[in-house]
Structures are given as structure tokens and as C-alpha cells.
């Protein structure tokens, strides 16, 4: 990710302009077709007996269940619980990562001194902390929070560090030669350079955070969608289980779309967003 992603963005911006609206409509049509094909396969596989329908109910049944779920308050409570844990966890990790990332990233001494520690802590999979979470907090929201924060914190922190390191030395020299103060340099040079990295980090973190929120609920039993999935699985109500899985996927898609929209607004000046305008 990081700088490499930046590279990709620059590349994309230079890509040939699309042949306008017709192309986009065609793409959307194909996309819908893809979804329809997938649903068709899902419907047929259990119907013609490739897979036992007891284990994989046909999609029509699952969709039916999904729509009935949508009007039950219990479903929305679960969604609320999951999203609360997710949003809170993300908020904590983003704030912590920005503060720490700026402090560490701007000091060459700290950058070098913390390297090994970060490299050790970062790859510890947060699910490995499930036992710790269970021991410390039991089946409470704090358990899920611990997992979410641990997993998403590193994503954001690394991106912030990359971003701070990516400040163009020429831009930095320009600011210095025009006698910007330290704070003004952070505000006018470091922060804008870091922003695209930060948003990438947030996008990654929000995906990972959702995974961990659901996992935590699923395995630990903290309240939320994951717990509902576990409950339905234990009760053998597979259609509802699949409907809930569908819901988690859709939530993931919505989060992704939302973060990208924020990115587009915040980075109107950035190559990834400027699109065809660039020459």
C-alpha cells in the first residue's frame, strides 16, 4: 500500500479517458449481470442437489429471510451494536495512530528507535488476542473493541508514518526558505502530504475493523451481528445465518463506499481523484 498505492493512483489518473457515459452505463450493466449470474448459480446449486440444501439454502429463501429480517428491531439492534463497536474502535485507533504517527514520524530518533518494536507488534494477528480479550473483559463490547483497536491501529499508524516520510524535500525546503514555523510546516506541508495516506489507512482499517468486530462477536459472543450468526448456526437456522452473512457483506460494501466518498471530497487536489483533468 502506502507509496505504492500512491503510484497506482498517479497511474490511474493518466489512464485513457473513458468513452464517456455510454461506457459507464455498459459497465454498470455488466456489473448487474455479474451479480445476477452469481445469484442464479447460488439458486441452482442447492436446487439441483450439487450441495445439500440443508447446508446451503437456495438464494431465494435466504433473500426472503433477509427482507423479513430488515423489519425486525432485533436485527437493527445487532447492527447497531456491531457498528458502535466498529466506529468506536476505529475512532480510538485513528486518533491514537495520528498522534503517535506524527510524533514518531517527525523525529528521526524516534523513528529509528521504535522500528523493531513496531515491526514485532504489528504482525501479531489480533485474533490471537481473543483469548486475552476473553480473559480480561469476557463477552463485553470491550473485548471486541480491544481486537478492533489492535488490528486497525497498525494499519493507520503505518500509513501515517509512510505519509510523514513522503513529504517532498523540495516542498519542505520551500516552506523553510519562506520561513514557515514548525507548526505551519506541519499544517501546510506535512498534514496535506500525509492525508491521502491517512485516508488509505482508514479505509484499510475500517475493513479490518469490521472483520474483527464480527469475529469477536462470533467467537467471544459479544453482542452484535456476529453473535446472531453464531446463534443461528447453533440453532440450525441456516437461512437466517446466510441472510445475516449477506448483511455483513453489504455493510462492508457501504462502509467502503462511504470512506471512498470522504476520500474524494478531502483529496480533490490529489492525483487519485483529479481524474481526466490531468494532462
Amino acid at each position: 500500500m502506502n507509496a505504492q498505492e500512491q503510484g497506482r493512483r498517479r497511474g490511474r489518473s493518466a489512464a485513457k479517458p473513458r468513452s464517456a457515459a455510454t461506457g459507464r452505463a455498459l459497465d454498470a450493466g455488466l456489473g448487474v449481470l455479474g451479480v445476477v449470474l452469481f445469484l442464479l448459480v447460488w439458486e441452482l446449486v442447492p436446487r439441483i442437489g450439487l450441495v445439500d440444501a440443508r447446508f446451503l439454502p437456495p438464494v431465494s429463501q435466504v433473500l426472503g429471510k433477509f427482507f423479513t429480517l430488515l423489519v425486525t428491531p432485533r436485527f437493527w439492534t445487532s447492527v447497531g451494536e456491531t457498528m458502535t463497536a466498529w466506529a468506536l474502535g476505529l475512532l480510538i485507533s485513528v486518533v491514537a495512530a495520528i498522534v503517535l504517527g506524527l510524533v514518531i514520524g517527525l523525529s528521526p530518533f524516534l523513528r529509528r528507535a521504535t522500528r523493531t518494536t513496531i515491526e514485532f507488534l504489528r504482525p501479531i494477528p489480533s485474533v490471537a488476542l481473543i483469548p486475552v480479550a476473553v480473559l480480561l473483559f469476557g463477552a463485553r463490547i470491550e473485548s471486541t473493541l480491544l481486537l478492533i483497536v489492535y488490528a486497525s491501529f497498525w494499519q493507520v499508524l503505518l500509513q501515517v508514518l509512510y505519509g510523514v516520510a513522503d513529504v517532498d524535500p523540495v516542498a519542505e525546503d520551500t516552506a523553510r526558505s519562506y520561513r514557515f514555523s514548525w507548526l505551519q510546516r506541519v499544517r501546510h506541508v506535512v498534514w496535506p502530504t500525509m492525508l491521502p495516506y491517512l485516508l488509505t489507512g482508514i479505509r484499510l482499517a475500517s475493513a479490518v475493523g469490521l472483520i474483527l468486530a464480527i469475529t469477536g462477536e462470533l467467537i467471544i459472543g459479544a453482542p452484535g451481528l456476529g453473535y446472531e450468526i453464531a446463534l443461528n448456526q447453533q440453532g440450525g437456522q441456516l437461512d437466517e445465518m446466510y441472510a445475516l452473512i449477506l448483511a455483513t457483506g453489504l455493510i462492508g460494501v457501504i462502509i467502503n463506499i462511504a470512506v471512498r466518498a470522504v476520500e474524494r471530497r478531502a483529496l480533490a487536489w490529489h492525483p487519485s481523484v483529479r481524474g481526466e483533468a490531468a494532462v
Binding site: V134, G138, A139, R140, Y227, L231, Q234, G235, Q237
Partner: protein
């Protein structure tokens, strides 16, 4: 050990000294399975209110999550099978069981080890050298199954136990991923696909107590009053549950996702107030023998 420290003062949210007519808020960790029906029913029937206890039921996914909850003081009481409790106590955690919750049925299986109809496994000893699924390894199921197999003349050290959650067990057996599997609840309608090899609880030792409610030893020593109230209410609930199977079935439907058909078929566990100490001793001996725990618990502090 320092475990008690981390809990701080007992988590009883309300005033512990609710001596008079005031109510005390307590939180109880439960599993949303039929075994805890008596607890749900008791709350529903107001037996805990009668004792001045305002109960919040906190569902968890397993006893393993409940133990830390009790140790840390988050739960005042929690549901857990006796062997889980022995394991925790074996590691030095300060737990004490205060009431019974479920016992194995005398007659038929609430829980069973089953094989596909056409399997050549005929009796428990045939499980030697096979793959058998249990819901949790190093726990009550594999311990009792080993006991049953050895008693039948097989060699339990040659069984390969695999963890499969109860709901997945049927599929695992049918797809031949395991040769035999532990299912719970075992219901008659499964007879079309499966054959029972052993009802591993009843076959292990008759009248085995399976699970109870436990609390922190600190609560017991500092707040015996509260424990007493809980025990009274719980015993009332158990007796009521045992006497009213229909009400039990009805309440199960409210907190599990089991279908009505399944629940109607369900062979309900026994809800019994007095603890069958002998059965627990047998269980503990087997657990030591098979290495699940290192030593038999001190009964005077394990049971209240």
C-alpha cells in the same frame, strides 16, 4: 494467586448490603442452550424477585468466557459444566459452585455419540482408532467418552478427538469427516440418518450432574447472604422446571434459535437441586486419569 486482585471489589452492581427489603442487582452469565432453561424460567416466574434479586441474564458463547467474567467480578454467577470448573480451579482460579443446573437424564439421551446408520461401529469399544467429534476438547465430553470406551473394553488413547461445534456435527458425520460425533440435543427425528453408540453422560455414570452455577470464592466469603438467596431462588426454579416440562419447552423457544419441532422432540435434561457428589468424584477421577486436570479438586471449597 493474583486473580482476585484484578477483579477488584465484587462486581455486584447494586448495594451488597441490600439487607432489608431492597433489591440487589445481579448479573448471571448463561449459555443460550436448553440446559439453562431453569434459570430463564425462574426469572420469568419471578422466583429471583421473591428473593430480592434483580437478575440480568448475560448470554455468553461458552463456559470459558464465563469463568473470567466471574473472576473479574463482571458476573456475579455463571453457568458452566462441572469439568470446566474443575479445570479452572486446577489452575488456581478462585471458583465455587453454588447450585446445580442440569443433570443427565436417567432414561434416554439428551446428548449422544452417534454414527451414520450404515457405520460398522456397533458399540463404544469400536470407537478405538476412530475420529470422534466433540464440541470442546479436554472437557466433559471427551472425558466421559473415554471412560465409556475403556469400560467397554476399548482403548480410549487411540481415539482421535476433533472439535466440531454441536450444530456442525451432523454435517461432519454425514460428510464422513469424522467417524462418530457428539450431538446435542439428540432428537428422535435424527434417527433416520444416525444410530446412537452411547449416551455418553448416562453411560459414564448414572445420574451424572453436568453443569451448575458458580461464583467467586470471594463472593461466598464476603456475601454469603447473596449466595444463599441465589441458591434458594435457583432451587425453586429447578424444581419448578422439573415439574413443568411444557413451560420449559416454551421458554427455550424464547431464547434459542431452535425450531418448535426440535424443541417439541427434545429430551429434556433433569433439573435437580441436590448435587450428586459421587458422580462428580467419578468424573474428577476420570479427568485426572485422562490428564484433563492434574488433581481432584478440594470438594470442601469446590462445592458450597
Amino acid at each position: 494467586s493474583g486473580a482476585a486482585d484484578s477483579g477488584g471489589s465484587t462486581g455486584t452492581a447494586g448495594a451488597t448490603g441490600g439487607a432489608g427489603g431492597g433489591t440487589t442487582d445481579i448479573t448471571v452469565g448463561v449459555l443460550p442452550v436448553p440446559d439453562t432453561a431453569a434459570m430463564y424460567l425462574g426469572v420469568d416466574q419471578g422466583f429471583f424477585k421473591d428473593e430480592g434479586l434483580n437478575v440480568t441474564l448475560q448470554p455468553t458463547t461458552g463456559g470459558a468466557a464465563a469463568v473470567p467474567g466471574v473472576v473479574s467480578g463482571e458476573y456475579d454467577f455463571a453457568f458452566g459444566n462441572y469439568l470446566s470448573g474443575m479445570v479452572a480451579v486446577d489452575q488456581g482460579l478462585p471458583l465455587q459452585y453454588v447450585t446445580n443446573a442440569t443433570a443427565a437424564t436417567k432414561t434416554d439421551g439428551f446428548q449422544a455419540v452417534v454414527v451414520p446408520k450404515d457405520s460398522d461401529i456397533k458399540s463404544p469399544k469400536d470407537l478405538t482408532g476412530k475420529r470422534v467429534s466433540v464440541n470442546n476438547l479436554s472437557n466433559i465430553n471427551d472425558t466421559t467418552i473415554r471412560g465409556v470406551v475403556d469400560a467397554d473394553g476399548g482403548d480410549s488413547s487411540k481415539i482421535e478427538f476433533v472439535e466440531v461445534a454441536f450444530p456442525d456435527a451432523q454435517a461432519a458425520i454425514l460428510n464422513k469427516q469424522v467417524d462418530a460425533g457428539t450431538v446435542n440435543p439428540w432428537v428422535k427425528s435424527m434417527e433416520s440418518d444416525f444410530r446412537v453408540i452411547t449416551y455418553n453422560f448416562t453411560d459414564f455414570t448414572p445420574d451424572l450432574d453436568i453443569a451448575g452455577f458458580f461464583t467467586n470464592t470471594k463472593t461466598v466469603s464476603e456475601n454469603p447472604d447473596l449466595v444463599k438467596k441465589f441458591q434458594t431462588a435457583m432451587n425453586k426454579s429447578l424444581e419448578f422446571a422439573q415439574a413443568n416440562p411444557d413451560k420449559v419447552r416454551a421458554i427455550i423457544l424464547t431464547y434459542t434459535k431452535l425450531t418448535k419441532e426440535t424443541v417439541d422432540e427434545l429430551d429434556l435434561p433433569v433439573f435437580r437441586t441436590e448435587v450428586n457428589k459421587d458422580s462428580l468424584k467419578t468424573l474428577a477421577d476420570a479427568a485426572v486419569k485422562y490428564g484433563t486436570i492434574k488433581k481432584v479438586p478440594d470438594w470442601s471449597t469446590f462445592l458450597w
